[in-house]
């Protein structure tokens, strides 16, 4: 579904990504772990071109999205993203947050979009918050709304950038539950996270990143129980 070839990203002289090659299959759940500054988030943000790669290619269903003429907005309609800081639109209520993109893209009528939004809100247990404003909600509720917003357009892939890192500990569970159910429904997911339990339970494949490269990858069992690289072992010792 997504193929990444020799991806490099530099910020000035700082080399954040140093050649990444990956292939993500449909319905696969890829979890990216690693120390801060290892390039995990940058890699994720390159996938929907929030960061422009310095060099290398990314293909989405066979089309090169890093090509200069690629329609990025079209691509992003099929690739949802959830941010660490939720980034809900504070001037819009929950319903308008969710329906803004589908209505603007004229993918659905307002009624249809609102109907779908209510379905999704029901699924995350927040139907009664449809008319609330983001600031009236807890962090966990905001992040669940953000997931719904990202899902509102029938996505093929969902990118999660540390979705639980900004949450109070007691709210992490409710967001992870929503993500687990999404995984069970067969969504293709790429998740950057520090939640090792989630990685182990949901991940089909775990990537350990350090120094801008994928240092080690494998099934959760391989990575968490028999890490081969010294760096991976050190990292897991600290976080587990």
């Amino acid at each position: 579904m997504i193929t990444v070839k020799d991806l490099h990203k530099h910020f000035g002289k700082l080399e954040v990504l140093n050649g990444i090659n990956q292939h993500i299959k449909p319905q696969e759940k890829v979890v990216i772990i690693g120390p801060s500054g290892s390039g995990k988030s940058t890699f994720l943000r390159c996938l929907n071109l929030l960061e422009r790669p310095t060099s290398g290619q990314i293909f989405f269903e066979g089309n090169e999205i890093t090509a200069p003429k690629a329609d990025i907005d079209q691509l992003r309609c099929r690739m949802g993203m959830v941010f660490q800081q939720f980034n809900l639109f504070p001037h819009l209520n929950v319903m308008d947050n969710i329906t803004l993109a589908p209505i603007t893209h004229k993918l659905m009528t307002r009624e249809k979009a609102q109907q779908r939004a209510m379905e999704l809100l029901n699924r995350v247990g927040l139907a009664e918050k449809a008319t609330a404003y983001p600031k009236q909600l807890s962090g966990g509720q905001q992040q669940r709304i953000a997931i719904v917003r990202a899902l509102a357009m029938n996505r093929d892939v969902m990118l999660f950038d540390e979705p639980t890192s900004a949450l109070d500990p007691e709210m992490v569970g409710e967001v992870l539950d929503v993500m687990k159910r999404l995984a069970e429904d067969g969504m293709t997911m790429v998740v950057v996270t520090h939640e090792m339990g989630f990685a182990r339970e949901v991940g089909d494949r775990v990537l350990f990143m350090d120094g801008g490269v994928v240092l080690e990858e494998g099934t959760p069992k391989e990575i968490f129980e028999h890490p081969k690289q010294q760096r991976t072992q050190d990292f897991l010792k600290k976080v587990l």
């Binding site: 690739m79 993203m81 980034n87 803004l100 893209h105 600031k135 990202a150």
Partner: protein, 261 residues
Amino acid sequence: MLSAFLFSATEVASSTIFDQWWLGMKDQAMAGQLNFWQNIYKEIYQNVLYNDRWLNYLRGMGITLEVSFFAALVGLFLGLLVAMMRLSGVKPLQKIAGVYVGIIRGTPMLLQVLIINFGIFGSIAIDRVIIGVIACGLNSGAYVSEIIRSGILSVDKGQTEAGRSLGLSNWQTLRLVVFPQALKTALPALCNEFITLIKETSILAYIALTELTKAGDYIRSKTYSAFTPYIVSGILYLIMTGVLTKLLGKLERRLRQGDNR
């Protein structure tokens, strides 16, 4: 001069009750024997009531409002345009916008008005109101652009990223996500700018546009009262700015409903 005025007052048809009152105390006034309240009445009568002079102020206020309104529109449009240019990331556009803001903010407004009036439109017959609108609008645009620019910059980058990640174009994100939030932040400063604009149109008195300040000045030249005409003008300015402050305050409260503070 005063006697000439008093004399002429008798010749005007003494129709209103105000004229009657004045005629009743005229002899005392000639003799300089008016008490405090009579003196105040004399000032008001001469500077406002006599010969329908209040109409001069109202006409002046009308022109002030007219110039301010259209200059605000011009300023808002220019300000938006220039703010976009400065944030566009296109070097030549940024340069042009920067030079414009630099010149307007770095030179006195009076000088700008004089240059536009005598320099640019010196040999063209054109309504002074239009000159006033152009001069004040050009001036205001520079300040508005800075207000809007800082408003846009105050919106968290994550908002733009969220908008773009939903497949919205750059322009759609700006219009639907960033702009409404920027406006809310910028509104108090914009309100200030509009109030400033109303007051600054008084500078157009310099090019003989009979707006509110000039109207007061005109009455002064007739009655030689140093205070009253200007105070009347001042009160009318206060009314205009006061009403505007109230209106924009209401708008601001409405925009803030999403905050629920």
